[in-house]
């Protein structure tokens, strides 16, 4: 029997190595070809992480597409039986819709970061990074590194909000040191400012930038020319496996106790699926989860104060709904407009009924991009959009084949 870890980001890698050191045989599964997760995979500044333990077997290019009891179904018609399971599936960046967000030249902040850092691609000469959260800074910084003229628009007012978070600031002082390295973008940084529309025929050429009030309602606007826009409004946890496994979700994240144990006793969760707090916190949680899964007491506590403050300092405020027009696309896969969504969803209360009536969330991304948006617009629970018994698309032929047990 094996400890199975899903996700080879900082949380999963640390969980795997810790459990292996405690004597367990560990299978570390990730859909990517390389270890590292979102951040380490694409960043040359981040330290490379490696798994150097002979009890850890790494299965690259492998997705867990379903969980059924303690059997995990893997792509390529394989199954594995887990004695303990550690979920470390991370989070992906959240975009908010606005008129023109579906134009070529509008990127997610994560994609922009990947292109700039991973491949040295500049996106344009004149680029705006907009959204909320500390993550905008490394994105902007990597764009500066490849020679781009950058402006950063933060929709919240962190310089004020942090003043109320002194305890969290002390707890997160190492994080602040990390952020200090992005000081070079400070001259191009504006708070309470957002891109509320993008304009162009075949590609974004101009954007409408707005000064916001504290609820994100536009106060004044102006149009400025750009080559590209990168948007990031925080992160959405990758919850589908946890939900399929029956783990309790609270406030949008997998609920865990101080040992990273979920409501399902043999399943642990670590990293961004339990709360957004950066790579270092994810790694610490991974260590705890690995130890607990191996039945070892660590006597080490994780300080979540900084992470918890992040959600207060960088919230998503309601005012963005006012940026939408009737024709703004909400679901990109199915090209569902705001008007169509509102008309179709009138009087509906159930997520599935909303999806079927409007088609929002029924496309290939399976509501990963629009789910949170639709939930906010219609006052539904966003985690209901993360119910995906089939976590990732697989060929019918692979589903039909007799699965092979992974040793």
């Amino acid at each position: 029997m094996t400890v199975v870890v899903v996700g080879a980001g900082p949380a999963g890698v640390n969980a795997a190595v810790t459990a292996a050191r405690a004597g367990q045989d560990v299978l570390l599964i990730d859909s990517a070809p390389r270890i590292g997760g979102q951040y380490h995979r694409q960043s040359f500044r981040a330290k490379e992480i490696r798994v150097a333990h002979d009890r850890v077997k790494h299965l690259p290019d492998t997705s867990v597409w379903a969980i059924e009891g303690n059997r995990l179904h893997l792509t390529g018609s394989r199954v594995v039986t887990a004695s303990r399971l550690i979920l470390a599936t991370g989070a992906y960046d959240r975009t908010l819709p606005f008129p023109g967000w579906d134009l070529p030249g509008v990127y997610t902040a994560g994609a922009a970061q990947a292109m700039a850092k991973g491949q040295g691609i500049a996106l344009g000469r004149n680029v705006i990074v907009a959204g909320t959260g500390p993550f905008l800074l490394p994105v902007a910084s990597s764009l500066v590194d490849v020679g781009v003229k950058v402006r950063v628009f933060e929709a919240n007012s962190p310089s004020q909000n942090w003043l109320r978070e002194t305890k969290a600031l002390i707890a997160g002082r190492r994080k602040l040191v990390e952020l200090a390295q992005y000081a070079k973008v400070a001259p191009y940084y504006r708070e309470r400012t957002a891109v509320i529309a993008a304009h162009g025929d075949d590609q974004v050429r101009e954007v409408t930038v707005a000064k916001l009030d504290q609820d994100w309602n536009p106060l004044q606007t102006k149009r400025i020319p750009v080559d590209a826009v990168c948007v990031g409004y925080g992160f959405v946890p990758q919850l589908e496996l946890a939900i399929s496994a029956g783990c309790r979700i609270s406030s949008g994240f997998v609920e865990v106790d101080e040992d990273q144990r979920t409501s399902v006793p043999w399943i642990f969760a670590a990293g961004e699926i339990t709360g957004i707090g950066g790579a270092e916190l994810a790694a610490q949680e991974g260590i705890r989860a690995g130890a607990a899964a191996a039945g070892v007491q660590l006597g080490l506590t994780v300080d979540r104060r900084f992470a918890e403050a992040l959600t207060r300092v960088y919230p998503v405020k309601k005012g963005w709904r006012g940026w939408l027009t009737d024709d703004t696309i909400i679901c990109r896969c199915e090209r569902v407009t705001h008007r169509k969504l509102q008309a179709a969803a009138e009087n509906l209360t159930a997520t599935r009924a909303v999806k079927l009536a409007s088609r929002a969330g029924l496309g290939v991304c399976q509501a990963r991009i629009c789910g949170h948006t639709v939930a906010d617009l219609l006052d539904l629970d966003p985690t209901t959009f993360a119910r995906r018994p089939i976590a990732t698309p697989i060929p019918l032929g692979d589903l039909a084949a007799n699965p092979v047990e992974e040793p």
Binding site: G246, N347, L348, T349, A350, V364, I394
Partner: protein
Amino acid sequence: MHVVVVGAGVIGAACAEALSAAGATVTVVDRSGPAAGTTGAGEGNVLVSDKEPGPELELAQASRRQLPELLAKLAEELGQADVEWQPKGGLVVATTDPQPLHDFAARQREAGVQAHPITAREAFELEPNLTREITAAVHYPEDGQVQPVLLATTLLSAVRQRGGQLLSRVTATGVSKHALLTDSGVIACDHVVNAAGPWAGDFAAKAGAPIPVLPRRGVILVTTPVVDLVRHKVYDADYVGAVASGDADLQTSTVVESTPAGTVLIGSSRQRVGFDDTIQVDVLRELARKAIRLFPKLRNVNVMRAYGGFRPYLPDHLPVIGEDHRVPGLWHATGHEGAGIGLAVATGRLLAELMTGRTPHIDPKPFRTDRPGLAL
């Protein structure tokens, strides 16, 4: 006359529509909201092809005739009634012994169903990607499909347009003389209609009039959009056996169909597992295998979603439509199992006729609550 309908699934919606058309004042209550139950969890096949001659087929044929007429009427009344109605016909194919299918089709023809045996070549003309291993094929031009959620919401729009009310997030907890009891108060009314789908047995018991409605789990696979791989609805002839059976064990009978969005739906399984909705991969595997057997090209198409729900069924596999024999003023319209979408329109109409004392357009006797098949 004020009628309260419990349940805003397709059956409750159809009853409410027919009652409001007949002049009643209608209130629909649902503990969640429109199409939150089975109606939002299944497919929208409107079939005559899968039914043995008998009362259910009669109800299906009536419903199939009435559906396009009703949609045309609602389109006029509401400005639009787009429920993705596609009268595209179905093709039933056998891959083993052809005789049972031919016999079945012959019996259906006697009951007035259009069931045309066609040659393998004609079948491939209709469905170029169909397996070459078929032994018989019957074309059913009357089969069609709707989008069930849109059908339910459109029917409810008409109810509201005519002055009816929809109360979401209200749970019915029982009845008393001339009233429905709910968790948010008492609603005075002349009649209550139990259209609570697979939960209808629970509500009926609370209302003092138990009926043995049980859930039968079903799941469907949805592929990513593909161009022109499947054109109509195609069923494996083993479908017929599974529908009529009460066996608890897993049964799958393959229905492969394309939707206007380009996705292919592969349904569906039948299992009695209570209200357990955890996914079972061996069930999905069985569906995938049978679909590939019909359309070998599906092998390379991705499945992106699986979903399912609980069909409300009664032990004798017929719905109940009519007034309860124990509690006057309480009516039932439920137990439509795997055919509620296709049976909804005629069910609503029959119920409204019975309640308003008009001549029923089909024989209501087989659907009564005091029939022997429902003895507890």
